[in-house]
Symmetry: D3
Subunit: 287 residues, 6 copies
């Protein structure tokens, strides 16, 4: 069996820049008025990053990066790798060093970690429901502006896979596009293929089995079966018969995921993983 | 009665920069492969931004900014001002102009609008529960990194108010800070006051009525009554007796908000408004 | 027959930012010492952008953007669209307005236009050699740092197509990757597929027909047939038999392109189009 | 007695970015033509940063940051902490390491240090005149664009305190604002309070004792007593009677500061500290 | 006689970026709390920018740019061009339009204008003292970090000229450089010339007439006669005899400028123009 | 004889920023899909940077910077300094450390190195042709946008010198400028001199000996003898007679360089060095 080696990492420059911007957002022009007023410069402390809820962790790099940006003297040990599923009360990381730096960077580090772990946890919940079936859980382009790279990483950490990253790395033909070339779905696919690079895949959104039938001879790479009933999905998968990837979307939740997965689709895409998953409750305990 | 004139606006430069970055995130180095392959350059369309769920709107500026960044020729009419509470199916905005620009900028504009409207809607729900009481609903610093200005704006649009924006514009004394100056809460308050500017307020977090009593003579501006029972809150409000602002926090949801508000506190702060409110479902309908 | 509607445009924000940076690079902290010393502020002129050599044009947007950045009062008319093949001495654009702005922005605008038109011209020369054959000409990732989006656009303007844009939007398995998973090419393909999103294509580089044979059952999307002889290419194409895209690379020049194209490969990729094509000679004539 | 622990530090990311920009401003695209032409790459030197005038030091972090940006091999020892008041000829810092880096970064480091020390020195002079009185010296928003965080830090280093940092962290009601709500000062205060967050203070500018009297019942946090005579100030302080902070502004110099402080005001704000203080003469002596 | 056409303009992109950064510095994440709370969105006003002191104006572009960044609807009329010498009470500019935008942008615009006009005024005072003599007044590299382009522009507006802009556009040989090549001033000059481009000038700092004599045969472009007595300057000018530019520096103030100019030097450079000139008092009067 | 000490270095901040941007361009939001899928996180490798063609090397700093940005654990040894002329097959650098980082950064590092070495090699070829003559080879402002600092460095590495870096550090009078002041070349020179700083040189472009004669009494620093015949150049050099620098431009290639150099000109400027030199073939060999 093929096993992924490990979770692929985020480009380091992206993480550093995002953390710098978030620190400036929180520190403003003055810094941490409270810590700087109260805590002696030479004071040190040891603290644990602990989750209050069970969940799947994503974004530990941001804890490390936030501390590194504030002081070279904070030591950060990560005990739980991104993607770990842990019970409430697990120590995710231990921080030790200058008290001012740890207290000043706490919120920025946690804001990344809780947001991304919330997404990873939501993804993991869906993935676990269908783990025995040959179907993938993916996200969409409905992400929080400026955080797409990180949110898509969180989906991977939760056991999901990524859909296209933007308008630039995949074609997705919808009604309006097809209408723009005269309404014929086959013409649309052929025209797209003529236009784009040979490394780019073409996905076509179909709402009906009739559309699917018309599109099949033009060999798109993926069909987006949008808001179809379970019966329609079963039929669609049979019609496609392995000639393209079958992707279901629309209304996929923890209640419906299993049934949809059992229709035989290859991929299920869920927008809410990245735009509506609640954050995971994680805090810093000073020891 | 005093009525705010209008919802204060976001600094325009902030909105423009955020939209530019989000567009580059979605368009990458290539642009919109699908629209550019299919839609003739000269094609135009008219589209409506319509909410699929009832809610409170925030972020319409981002629709305007996304279109302006892509083309000077898209006309944007906003029909519902930020802060409006609208039933499902309301036309929030109408876009008309080059089809390519509208389709390419749709997702970026909606990603801002749905995220911020989700926060405004969650805020409005809490605010409506306690509207007849002299208590404010506020957010915290638990925001999505990079989006704090916008999320705090969404809270205002939903009828809430803002807590401090960062570590730089308010003092918040917690256990660790007080411990750092020897454990005496009064000393901590006095020392903070000596350090900071005269335009900055001091808030003290207290978990017990005993702490509250010790702190009162040192006249902090606000008390954060953290995770207190309803009874404790009632007593705390009586003890403070208008000499400081009484702020409740911890476990405030639509179920508990009314009871907490009735204790007489001045402010209720809710972290989840900005980190866990689901987005509001809003889409673009091509006419 | 399927005809692309038009050359897809560069994201406007990318063009604007690149032009701003290039103008600052040329103007420094002082501006144009010569023009500002000599030309009265109110002087105007009319000038033509004219190519001294025949070629294929790409990058006219940069002329427009450079002028817009310096003054709202320069009028720019583009007479030759990107992708046009024109004889020497053609008027590509006409500029009219403040003399200082036109003279100060001339070099920046031309530096983009001559560089990109050089790439488009080189591409067009290869494309014209094989125009009657069903084969595409593409570029690679060997681009000038910071200019990849623009250079890939120039390749499209010259009638070519784009290969992947970076390490992020396509898999390319080479010797080292295959060795890293134990040396079996099929295992490598399967592992990559398990890891990546369903919108991403997998290309495998093969140097021998033996490697090709081992890889074929694992159904990669594209084979990179690297530095193969014409005979090997013919055999490879026959072996692949339409089950994947056949891409030739290595030593493809105007001398060899026709013969390689006639082997039946689907794609030919040429690194030198973007890293070594000489710029096209284009100048500004003051009228 | 309450003693501040130490001078709160500038956010490190702010310092680094400012130093990088200043180095690029001085080095341009070519670097230090003189040093690179003359000094062998392996040459080292030792140099002292020495003040030619007595004064109060602020900005030593910038010396360290400028050297760190140019080379990891320059060793910087700071002998005088920010806020130190030192006689002329004191060694503030010692630099040792690559001669090219030290000579190339000298001016950038000194430009920050002399500017900020000039502000700290001016502040310290005023503070020393009134040190026995319970009154604070503060700056205003009249700062050099882009340097506000650093200039406000210099004021703190000189023993002063900071006023609000911008339009975002404090309300300041002036004539025009009051006129905009109909001219009643009490309405203005109440309306501002309804609008802003509970962590934000409200200051009202009053020119006459009559305005003061009308405003007092509305309980603003601070009164700005603008350009009042000494007699008026004495009366105003008596009228306020501790119910708000009394701040004097207008024409406060080393000649007038003592008399104004003796009126009993709590705060004196001086714009010229940040916009017109001459720089402190500090140079680099090669040993 | 040769007359400069007009004061050369600042690169527009530089002005826009500086104004955007300064606005964000002042508006933070929230904007102008006071104006947004008090002023109705639709309110308009007319205001004048008026100087409280006589002086020489520089930086009016920043008023225009600050308003443009906040609203397209503010109309800005500049009545006094940069470089104008005006009595106190002159209307420099008139602003009309949305009250919120004008009040929110006032301080940023004025902070640039008062700072740069202070430099222009100081420069003009020195220039006027020596106007009948063939000598130039110039600034140095002792500028406020991040503002060099603008401060050097202000010097030009005040009738002065610019020295080199950084380490990149001119060679300045000092003791340490000469020592690094063995101590011979002629060797140093020759080596610099071998190294640098042919468009770059070489200046040599000399403290004694002996050094001057040794350097003269090596034909540097400029001599920096540092801290020489009037007698020494007279002799130095005679020795140089037009073969190089003679530049005096050190201790040049309004008291000493005339006498130094009369020694016959070509250029006088003054560091304090850019690092210690007080700002010019300019305010906004609402009409 | 005077020997330059060493090749002056690029400002480190410029190199770092350019490498960060180039890495983001190649890694996008996802990183290196291929390496991250295939290579275990802990795998290491050793690799050599080797040139496939003989040439002159420039840009080794970029190899070091690209690796440093991706991982602190890659060790980079540079064996050939910038400016070295080496036969094909020379090991320029050795990299050892994490396999993922080395493979992910390879292309970005090489894209800089091959581009800059191509320019250095082209420059060195021309320089070698005329090495025994007292004439310099320089570049122009016809550079690739965004890369001017680096391309000018490559010219220096190849034994050439730099012309002005932009419009800001030198005056270049051409026909249009002269026409703008009424057509008299002497007036133009005098007016430019009155306008600019005393550290800036003035170059005048002349096409005829007649223009040269008219300009000579006005003592410009350099004459650009544009597209003159060999005979004209000889005459021009004689007329100038050491009173200014004589620079030839137009049509200078390896075929014509020797003859033009023998006319006695001081400088030859070649645009194609920076806009049309092919890149040098350099690759990474995994050991």
């Amino acid at each position: 069996m093929i096993m992924p080696n490990s979770l692929s990492a985020l480009p380091k420059t992206l993480v550093t820049r995002a953390v710098q911007d978030a620190l400036l957002e929180d520190l403003g022009s003055t810094g941490d008025l409270t810590s700087d007023s109260m805590i002696p410069e030479e004071a040190t402390l040891i603290a644990s990053v602990v989750n209050r809820q069970p969940g799947c962790i994503a974004g530990t790099d941001f804890i490390r990066a936030a501390m590194a940006e504030l002081s070279h003297d904070v030591r950060v040990e990560i005990h739980q790798k991104d993607g770990s599923v842990i019970p409430a009360g697990t120590t995710i990381a231990t921080l030790s060093g200058p008290a001012r730096s740890i207290l000043s960077g706490e919120r920025v580090g946690l804001n990344f970690l809780t947001h991304l772990s919330g997404i990873a946890t939501a993804t993991r919940e869906i993935v676990d429901l269908i783990d025995d079936l040959p179907v993938r859980v993916t996200c969409t382009r409905k992400t929080t502006p400026g955080l797409r790279a990180f949110e898509k990483f969180a989906v991977r950490a939760g056991g999901g896979h990524n859909h296209r990253f933007g308008l630039y790395d995949g074609v997705m033909l919808k009604d309006n596009h097809i209408a723009a070339v005269g309404g014929d779905i086959g013409t649309a696919i052929d025209q797209a293929r003529a236009h784009i690079g040979h490394m780019v895949k073409i996905e076509v959104e179909v709402d009906t089995l009739d559309q699917l039938e018309k599109a099949l001879p033009h060999a798109p790479d993926i069909f987006l079966l949008d808001n179809m009933s379970l019966d329609q999905l079963v039929t669609a998968v049979r019609m496609i018969d392995g000639r393209a990837i079958a992707e279901a979307s629309g209304g996929i939740t923890s209640k419906t995921a299993r049934a949809i997965a059992e229709t035989g689709v290859d991929v299920m895409s869920l927008g809410w993983l990245t735009h509506s998953a609640p954050s995971l409750d994680i805090g810093l305990d000073i020891l």
